[in-house]
Symmetry: C2
Subunit: 262 residues, 2 copies
């Protein structure tokens, strides 16, 4: 079933790819995909039966909604070209840490559609449980955005730009930094021919635990026990990798300090 | 069904509690629980129908296996008292980062029984999927330890002291440090009245992802994109919390550096 609601995407990266597929799979019409690289534009366009373009000036004028999913730092410089000739269309960006008022003076109808999730092109995520945080500059478009968000996810919330900024910052700790620790863990193991898979059961339990306990109450390990012997042995094992050693030292110090303040 | 194999525990902390219950639930006889605090000793002993003591010299002599689960840094100083009069019994410790040869000169039969997992007293974990790493100073006891380990877990491996040290170090990154990042994330949200629960879907996906992708390939976020605008905004949001800001700065720097080396 096709819905009579037309969406175009400005951007064809991880987020755009996942979001375009989620809308497409729910019957929305995806009009067009813009990307600066032909390959990205065409590849995603092919998957969601859309047109593609690498020229911002060729983005069609008739979509109901334009979803901008670009790197945060290129967004401001491209915004006037993106919106040109479409001042009365509805635009949203998808960036956690960019305030909604970036649209002011460019567009008349705008908002934010922030899916708090980690996206990788190769991995299709189930959108139905992804929290979507919505903001808009007028009640009618806010209602529209909440409605279409509710079609792809059961977790739709309003959040203003201040709240969204904090959510994004917290997400960097809970997701991006966490993943980097997994990468460091994998490095340590691989250096000694041990498989990273051996960590998965531990990692799963660490994650499950905080569904039931506050992370402060779930803390274990040498630092929270202030077990200096173990920490010193670990630091000397890391001596050949001063940058990883520095991460170990700082996080342990921080855990000890937080315990003391608790 | 009771198995004719008797185990005593030296220690009644998170790990001892979970391990004693796992053996008890599989029908092993738990003879006795030692803890320096009466309450801990009695509480666990009550749950596994064992005797309790707070006096090392009162630990019974007739158990088949003594499992030592104490803080790593008290283990060396207590070892001769723990083993006294039981030189021919089988002793294991459970510490990732303590080599097996700590037993040398104290006991004749010894080994290591290292469950790589995060344990909290309040949370009973399913041992059947926990990797258990086994070492022993003689083939017959190694076989015994592998056999009884296989009764409580389907993931039993041999690992020598060197390998176990690396596993433990990697686990500190994958579990203890990760949990601390969850705690920092919760702090950031709570300061602004946002619930930590809003992170759970993101956290679950971050975990799921590394079952399928190497963590290096799963990295997302401002640092791996080298998005200086976002990182600078985050750092200024964290200005009131210099210690958290320091964690943000170091991990971001480390992610940028690892990307460059990839």
């Amino acid at each position: 079933m096709k819905r009579d609601y037309h969406i175009s995407f400005i951007g064809a990266g991880n987020l755009a790819t996942n979001l375009a597929k989620a809308f497409y799979n729910k019957g929305f019409v995806i009009d067009q995909i813009f990307s600066k690289t032909t390959e990205s534009a065409q590849s995603l366009a092919g998957e969601v039966e859309a047109l593609s373009t690498t020229n911002l000036e060729d983005v069609i004028l008739t979509s109901d909604l334009y979803i901008i999913a670009l790197k945060d730092d290129v967004l401001p410089q491209l915004l006037s070209r993106i919106i040109a000739n479409k001042e009365n269309a509805l635009f949203v960006h998808t960036a956690g840490s960019v305030p909604m008022n970036i649209f002011e003076g460019h567009s008349n109808r705008y908002g934010v559609f922030y899916p708090m999730q980690t996206f990788t092109k190769e991995r299709v995520v189930d959108f139905s449980t992804i929290p979507l945080f919505i903001e808009a500059n007028n009640p009618s478009d806010k209602k529209t955005l909440m409605d279409i968000a509710s079609i792809i996810s059961s977790k739709v919330y309003e959040a203003n730009s201040e709240q969204r900024k904090k959510l994004h910052l917290a997400a960097v700790f809970s997701c991006n930094f966490v993943n980097h620790l997994y990468a460091l863990s994998a490095e340590i193991l691989e250096e000694y021919g041990l498989p990273f898979d051996s960590m998965l059961s531990l990692i799963d339990e660490t994650t499950q635990k905080i569904h039931h306990l506050h992370p402060k109450d779930a803390q274990t390990g040498p630092a929270v026990r202030n077990d200096q012997d173990v920490m010193n042995r670990h630091l000397s094992m890391l001596a050949p990798h001063p940058d990883v050693q520095e991460v170990y030292r700082l996080l342990s110090k921080n855990i000890v300090k937080h315990k003391a303040n608790k």
